[in-house]
């Protein structure tokens, strides 16, 4: 049975990655799973300089979901390259670094510094973080800026570049088309939905940052729809995510058009979620007579009349 996929030049032994920001720098979950079972590890968003992040509370639980406003806390690209990536290099699991910044130059700078870093097989460009004041959200909601960031990153690195799209837009297909045109090797979707919660007793927002990003099973229908729409319009491979808890959830994304998937919030609930998704996909393929995972990508599209 073949589980291996090629995500825009990134070769993964199976289609299951960890979603950026939910799996730290990879080693935190080592007590619970064999990290080698993962298709790829996508590490926390990395910026040119260290960031302290947002004031607490940084998370709030919502129905079947959670809001986060971490604020891209990270030690900065230099420490990531010098201290963190070398520790991951020995794992034998491909590492994808999620990158972010306030300006186009920031993105290019981080991309350049990561070029050739040990163990790194690709970059995921976060143009869609709703929790930082500058940059982030604007790049993620304007096709032209998104394309510009994509071009700058592509110029700065030889690594495959995945561009991560935001669902907080009127037309995600237009965003996908713009970054595809600008040279992205793959697309990932979705980042979190912009949301907030109010503490009714204290009569103020729950989060220190007021608004935050909604993730978890609650957003899955929005994410599957985004993958479905983009798959039919753009020919790039898609890394699908948003609320995947089980193999069946992951298969929704794959059948809608994802080449690979990432598991995020589910890690917090079940630290073995990633590995269980891999195993569940294998079982589904066995039970349904599929021998190659790539046959499943977009299959639900072909089963709809007139598609």
């Amino acid at each position: 049975m073949n589980l291996a996929v090629n995500l825009g030049g990134i070769k993964m032994k199976n289609p299951v990655a960890t979603a950026s920001g939910t799996f730290g720098f990879g080693l935190e979950y080592q007590p619970y799973i064999d990290l080698q079972r993962l298709g790829a590890i996508i590490v926390k968003g990395t910026t040119p300089s260290p960031r302290a992040g947002n004031p607490p509370p940084r998370i709030a639980e919502t129905p079947s979901g959670m809001l986060n406003a971490i604020g891209l806390q990270n030690p900065g690209v230099d420490r990531v390259v010098e201290e963190i990536l070398p520790r991951l290099a020995g794992l034998g699991t491909p590492v994808i670094v999620n990158i972010a910044g306030d300006t186009v130059e920031d993105y290019a700078l981080v991309a350049r510094k990561l070029d050739g870093a040990p163990g790194v097989v690709g970059l995921e460009v976060n143009i869609s973080c709703p929790n930082v004041k500058k940059g982030g959200i604007q790049f993620g909601s304007d096709p032209r800026s998104a394309a510009e960031v994509t071009r700058a990153v592509k110029a700065a690195t030889g690594l495959p570049v995945i561009v991560k799209l935001s669902p907080n837009v009127t037309d995600i297909v237009a965003m996908a088309e713009a970054v595809a045109e600008a040279g992205a090797d793959a697309l990932s979707m979705i980042n979190t939905l912009l949301g907030m919660a109010i503490d009714v007793d204290r009569r103020r927002p729950v989060l220190g940052n007021v608004t935050g990003g909604l993730s978890g099973p609650a957003v899955r229908p929005v994410a599957v729809r985004a993958v479905w729409q983009v798959y039919r319009a753009v020919s790039l491979p898609i890394l699908g995510m948003g609320g995947i808890m089980t193999a069946r959830d992951a298969l929704e994304f794959i059948l809608a058009g994802a080449t690979a998937v990432a598991v995020g919030t589910a890690n917090f609930v079940n630290p073995r979620a990633t590995v269980e998704v891999v195993e569940g996909i294998e079982q589904y393929m066995r039970e349904n007579g599929f021998t190659d995972i790539n046959e499943l990508t977009g299959l639900a599209q072909r089963n709809v009349a007139g598609c």
Partner: protein
């Protein structure tokens, strides 16, 4: 090392209305656990409520492989846990850095330099708990009693009223001197437990351990700073992963250089040197 276990609940009690004491079977968790560490518990099967709930380890029985937690029912998660039908519990743990008893004194580098109990320190120990914050202190006191230090340890317990002084009897049985305070005056000192601490600090103890609601801990830290007494406090922050991966549980601290920064309550804490926490 931390583990993920789905295991049998061996007993469930209601020590006071609105509180729940659960014992479960988890031998290697019991063996590894240190006072001040916590377990991360899934409270339901569906996705609502979604996240695990962090609950301190209240007691361990290493011989029989049993672990106890004591918690207050405050919302949906704890309510589900207090009556989870199937007699099973899904826990991750032990997690976090506990009180620095008997271990290499990792916290002393950053704090005043006084060594905590069990590391050669010879001054008296004060253990101060408020509300449900007494839950982890019970485990700490078990260990202190086990190492024969109950004689030089004073325990201060605060609660809303007499009926909620949850661990009083158990701690007295261990041989500790216990002073109590209640908000409504139904037992001991009428007022916050920090009133008792202010008095106790006049006797210049060697080390203070504290756990309780944030306003109480803030006062404790201020009193310790004033008295120049070292100590540790166990803080509560909202947690998602519990293992250091998500950066949800940021606790504002002052680092060695005096700069303010965030540390993760789940792995860098939940116990921090009293002098480090920025309130």
């Amino acid at each position: 090392m931390s583990q993920l276990v789905r295991t049998r609940i061996t007993s469930r009690e209601e020590p006071a209305p609105g509180f729940c004491l659960i014992e479960f079977y988890a031998p290697s968790l019991a063996r590894a656990a240190q006072p001040g560490q916590f377990v991360h518990i899934r409270c339901g099967e569906g996705s609502d409520p979604l996240l695990r709930r962090p609950i301190s380890i209240h007691a361990v029985n290493r011989r029989d492989g049993l672990v106890r937690i004591l918690f207050q029912v405050v919302g949906r998660g704890t309510a589900l846990l207090a009556r989870s039908g199937e007699g099973m519990i899904d826990v991750m743990g032990p997690l976090g850095r506990g009180f620095s008893r008997g271990q290499a004194c990792r916290n002393c580098n950053n704090s005043s330099g006084n060594a905590p109990a069990g590391t050669g320190n010879t001054g008296d120990i004060i253990v101060v708990g408020g509300g449900i914050g007494v839950a982890p202190l019970h485990f700490l006191l078990q260990e202190i009693a086990g190492s024969g230090e109950s004689g030089r340890t004073t325990v201060l317990l605060g609660a809303r009223s007499a009926g909620q002084l949850l661990i009083r009897e158990a701690v007295e049985k261990m041989g500790f001197v216990v002073h109590v305070a209640t908000d409504d005056g139904t037992a001991g000192h009428h007022g916050p437990v920090t009133g008792l601490l202010a008095n106790a600090l006049r006797r210049h103890p060697g080390f203070v351990y504290a756990c309780g609601p944030a306003p109480m801990l803030k006062t404790v830290c201020a009193l310790l700073a004033e008295a120049g007494v070292p100590g540790e406090v166990s803080v509560e922050e909202r947690m998602a992963c519990g293992v250091g991966a998500c950066l949800s549980c940021a606790c504002r601290v002052r680092d060695a250089g005096g700069r303010e920064t965030y540390r993760r309550a789940c792995v860098d804490g939940p116990v921090f040197p009293a002098g480090e926490v920025v309130w």
